[in-house]
């Protein structure tokens, strides 16, 4: 048990980091150096192709045109992911200079993160459950779904469940995690916080990070390239 905890808390983070970084670097490097035939799709968007790609990445307009409900689910899901990702900066370290700048004390910051993080955590749960139901319930999606599609969804669901449980059902002191992450960065072999939910949450999150370069989640980088192929003048 201790050996396992040591692996999750003190070895896996480095593996995950290296795998993610080399995996993504390799992908992006190969995409960048590859030639592409000119297969522009007309009519070409108004304005520059860069701004069209950015608009597509930020707002999913092509999805909006097809299926508004799915667009809503998918878009809110991704926006919440970004929020939650940013929110997790506080888990790793604190930003006293920022709070000073905003004139917020510790209680105000905690309340803010509790409220916004809590809401985001709940909304994203709803969207993930919707996306899972859509995958299972809609024929044209179900028939093209494989194990890889489901595992990603359930992995995310499990990460969200453990994350939300920590937030709503137990008080968890972020100073513990900050000390721990600082130790990881400084290679001082720190003790992982002894909270069972945290260990599980952190383990699953690392699994996902390892998954990214090898699974469909790769689209988070790929979209910039696929969009650019057809949006050149």
């Amino acid at each position: 048990m201790n050996g396992l905890k040591f692996f999750v808390g003190n070895i896996l983070p480095y593996i995950a980091f290296v795998v993610f970084l080399t995996g993504m670097t390799y992908r992006i490097y190969t995409w960048l150096k590859m030639s592409s035939p000119i297969i522009t799709l007309y009519p070409v968007p108004k304005g520059s192709s860069t701004s069209a790609v950015i608009k597509e990445v930020l707002l999913f307009p092509s999805l909006f045109k097809t299926d508004k409900v799915f667009w809503g689910g998918a878009w809110i899901f991704h926006v919440m992911l970004v929020f939650i990702f940013i929110g997790h900066f506080r888990v790793v370290t604190d930003f006293p200079w920022l709070w000073n700048l905003l004139g917020m004390n510790k209680e105000a910051v905690d309340t803010m993160s509790m409220t916004s993080g809590g809401i985001a955590g709940l909304i994203i749960m709803i969207t993930v459950i919707y996306l899972i139901f859509r995958r299972v319930g809609v024929q044209k999606v179900r028939e093209i779904s494989g194990f890889g599609d489901y595992i990603v969804m359930f992995l995310i669901l499990a990460i969200l469940l453990t994350g939300n449980a920590m937030r709503f059902f137990q008080h968890f002191d972020l100073s513990e995690t900050r000390v721990y992450f600082a130790g990881l960065v400084a290679f001082t072999n720190p003790q992982m916080p002894a909270n069972g939910l945290f260990v599980l949450h952190f383990f699953l999150a690392q699994m996902m990070i390892v998954f990214i370069p090898f699974s469909k989640i790769l689209h988070l980088g790929g979209i910039f390239f696929t969009q650019t192929i057809l949006k050149r003048g």
Partner: protein
């Protein structure tokens, strides 16, 4: 067995090579999120909700083999991550299913990743071609085209007979002598129509002849190169495509023309302008490449022509061929022509870049072996779309679309005319000195 092993290694090697690019080949293997949007917008899947017609599923036929042979996860986890080796049954499955995609690129318009499944369809057809599995009909079209320079197996005299006939027709109808020059050297425009517009539906060519008559620009047809159709695009064979194209470029050089003017044929224009010229197949060209739709629309806007719209009184609609619209961006020009030549022009919805395929794209239109599929499945949406406009004529500047439309109307017993754009111009353009129409 050894034959099968040969086929298999050819297929697998071609798919493995996709790892080296070009970019779409590789990244389309890695970024599909299986959201189902392509199925939602696909004309074929709309016609029949079968798994094998789902675009993502069809592309997965390639993806599975790619994962099996070219990815770490596929090598380790196999079927768990969707990897599967190519096996004996797949040969016929591929040969059937990759010719059930019309390569219309509508999926690419709506895909959130903007994955263009037509690229993968063509790749699969390239592989099929290399193992001798191109549908016989298309193979024959290519053989004929490479031998005679046109897809109708017509000798040079067929063209001159057709042009004399059309000249007489115009003279009889209008009282005006309109020339259709053949093999003239040193003219401005070398017109490259699809052979169907010369041999089968002459109204379109007559319209074009009248257009040139009014503008006064010099032009010519070629008696050995009068069919821009090039099926190498559809069978995935770059060699055949290049071979078929060669004659046209040589002919344009021989005739010393300023501009090669493509006719009402979407894929022919795409190959000349966007594939041959952009990739510099034959180096720098001593002529430009343009299209008759752009030419006529330009002169309409300049006010060169006189039309009597009352000669085309019935409601007409316009179908954007996938190759002219989505692939070449010739989108507003046809509408300029329609508005000028017809009294009651109606858009169908959606249109332009989002238009639904006629159901005969990607070479399918030439395949009567799958006529029921084309009429009931891939063309289903199109019929609904046309009916919703209430139009009595569908204009489409593409021989493949025209054939599909003609068959659709016949098959479904609909009283709706079909044809090209210059057919309408032919009916309503008024030539100087023209006798009163009857």
């Amino acid at each position: 067995m050894t034959e099968y092993n040969n086929i298999k290694s050819k297929v697998v090697d071609s798919i493995k090579a996709m790892k080296k690019g070009p970019l779409p080949m590789r990244i389309y293997m890695e970024t599909c999120v299986k959201c189902g949007t392509c199925a939602e917008v696909c004309p074929v899947y709309y016609g029949s909700n079968e798994k094998s017609l789902n675009p993502a599923e069809r592309s997965d036929l390639i993806r599975r083999v790619y994962k099996k042979h070219s990815t770490i996860s596929g090598k380790i986890f196999g079927g768990l991550v969707g990897a599967k080796d190519f096996d004996g049954d797949d040969i016929d499955k591929w040969a059937k299913e990759f010719y059930e995609c019309t390569a219309c690129r509508r999926c690419a318009v709506f895909c959130p990743m903007e994955i263009d499944n037509s690229v993968l369809t063509r790749k699969a057809r390239t592989i099929l071609d290399s193992i001798g599995k191109t549908p016989e009909t298309l193979m024959r079209v290519i053989e004929v085209s490479l031998k005679t320079g046109n897809t109708d197996n017509a000798p040079p005299v067929a063209l001159t007979e057709a042009t004399s006939f059309m000249e007489e027709e115009i003279l009889e109808e209008t009282g005006v002598e309109v020339k259709m020059p053949v093999d003239e050297v040193g003219v401005d425009y070398f017109l490259v129509p699809p052979s169907g517009d010369v041999l089968v539906n002459p109204e379109s060519m007559m319209g074009i002849a009248k257009v040139f008559h009014v503008t006064g620009d010099s032009w010519t047809l070629s008696s050995r190169a009068f069919d821009g159709a090039n099926y190498g695009l559809f069978t995935g064979s770059d060699n055949d495509m290049k071979e078929d194209n060669k004659l046209y470029v040589e002919e344009a050089k021989r005739l010393k023309v300023k501009t090669m003017m493509m006719g009402e044929c979407g894929h022919a224009h795409r190959i000349m302008k966007f594939i041959m010229e952009k990739n510099k197949w034959w180096g720098d060209l001593p002529f430009e490449i343009s299209n008759i739709l752009q030419y006529t629309a330009y002169h309409i806007q300049k006010g060169t022509f006189k039309f009597d719209k009352s000669l085309v009184p019935e409601p007409v609609t316009y179908h954007d061929p996938c190759n002219f619209g989505r692939s070449c961006g010739i989108i507003e020009e046809p509408r300029i022509i329609m508005r000028a030549a017809c009294e009651d022009f109606r858009e169908m919805y959606p249109n332009r870049g989002e238009n639904w395929c006629c159901g005969g794209g990607g070479g399918l239109s030439a395949m009567d072996t799958i006529i029921d599929f084309r009429m009931n499945v891939s063309g289903k949406k199109k019929v609904e779309q046309v009916l919703a406009t209430g139009a009595k004529y569908v204009a489409s500047p593409c021989s493949n679309c025209k054939r599909q439309f003609m068959q659709l109307m016949e098959y479904h017993k609909l009283d709706i005319g079909t044809g090209g754009l210059h057919d309408l111009v032919n009916r309503s353009i008024i030539l100087d000195g023209q006798k009163k129409s009857v």
